[in-house]
Amino acid sequence: MSVDKLVIAGIEFNSRLWVGTGKYKDFAETKRAVEISGTDVVTVAVRRVNIIDRSKENLLDYIDPKKYKILPNTAGCYTAKDAIRTAMLAVEAGITNWVKLEVLGDEKTLFPDNEALLEAAKVLVKEGLIVLPYTSDDPIMARKLVDIGCPAVMPLAAPIGSGLGIRNPYNIKIILETVKTPVIVDAGVGTASDVALAMELGCDAVLLNTAIAGAKDPIAMAEAMKYGVLAGRLAYKAGRIPKKLYATASSPLDGMIGS
């Protein structure tokens, strides 16, 4: 079973499920979950190297950058300045010039600071980076981000790690009609049906982490997410029936006995 390919900034992706690498038990589990999810895009954080203990293994010894598109994020940044600095360091590290740009506004909600996000995105686009911004489910902000050169937008479904699923499908719908770029739902999904719903709305991909890594069985959930994305995309392409208030019989009325 396969679905149509996703293309962003001229790069073709086989999977419409993108996954993060945080919160797993160990690198071996991360690798298995990533493999079984069928993804080809893996997000990573940019952090200080452990100077004291050089014996520790590296994530990229398990997740081969030749096999997966490595997408560094600016997670944990609360100012445009910090996000720009982190993104530029990520590029200098030499694997990619793509970045998932995240500028947070509040520790409790981890909602994006859209004003700072736009400011940072402008700078990084000018620097030649491929900027994928994590934004609120705000169609106006999505349009502004695309206008300044982002090749896709990543509106949240719900707060990061909340597992609430898409809180405002109508806004996501409006974003899909507002921008011509791919729309990737990022953060807040909890289970496979949430992912399927995002895809049925017409979203181009879903990025998630906690929903897999935090599941009782992350490997099984990684597989469930894979099918959730496939089912949702296929259903979207197939075109669902309209919702109606009353019944429509599916068996013919002709030839009923006693008629």
């Binding site: 993108w18 993060g20 690498t21 945080g22 919160k23 797993y24 690198f27 991360t30 997000t43 990573v44 954080a45 940019v46 952090r47 200080r48 190297v49 100077i51 050089r54 590296n58 994530l59 990229l60 490595i70 560094p72 994020n73 997670a75 600095r85 530029m88 360091l89 990520a90 590029v91 200098e92 590290a93 030499g94 694997i95 998932k100 994590y134 990061i160 790690g161 990022d186 953060a187 990025l207 998630l208 982490n209 906690t210």
Partner: protein
């Protein structure tokens, strides 16, 4: 000499370049980025960039992380 490395004071050899410092720290240069006094140092300048007493360095790489 003493420098500030990833936020902590660290004793390193005198008269060392970025290349020399990475070797001293046993860090492969391929997947790291280096910031010297808040300026990113390009990889091709590692051999010619000197680290001096009191400098502040950040050495970062890719780690497990969320969406």
């Amino acid at each position: 000499m003493t420098i500030t490395l990833n936020g902590e004071e660290k004793q390193v050899p005198n008269n060392v370049t970025i290349t020399g410092l990475l070797a001293f720290l046993n860090i492969q240069r391929q997947r790291v980025a280096v910031e010297l006094n808040l300026e990113i140092v390009k990889k091709d300048a590692y051999d010619t960039t000197d680290v001096k007493e009191g400098d502040s360095l950040e050495i970062v790489s890719f780690m497990s992380g969320g969406t």
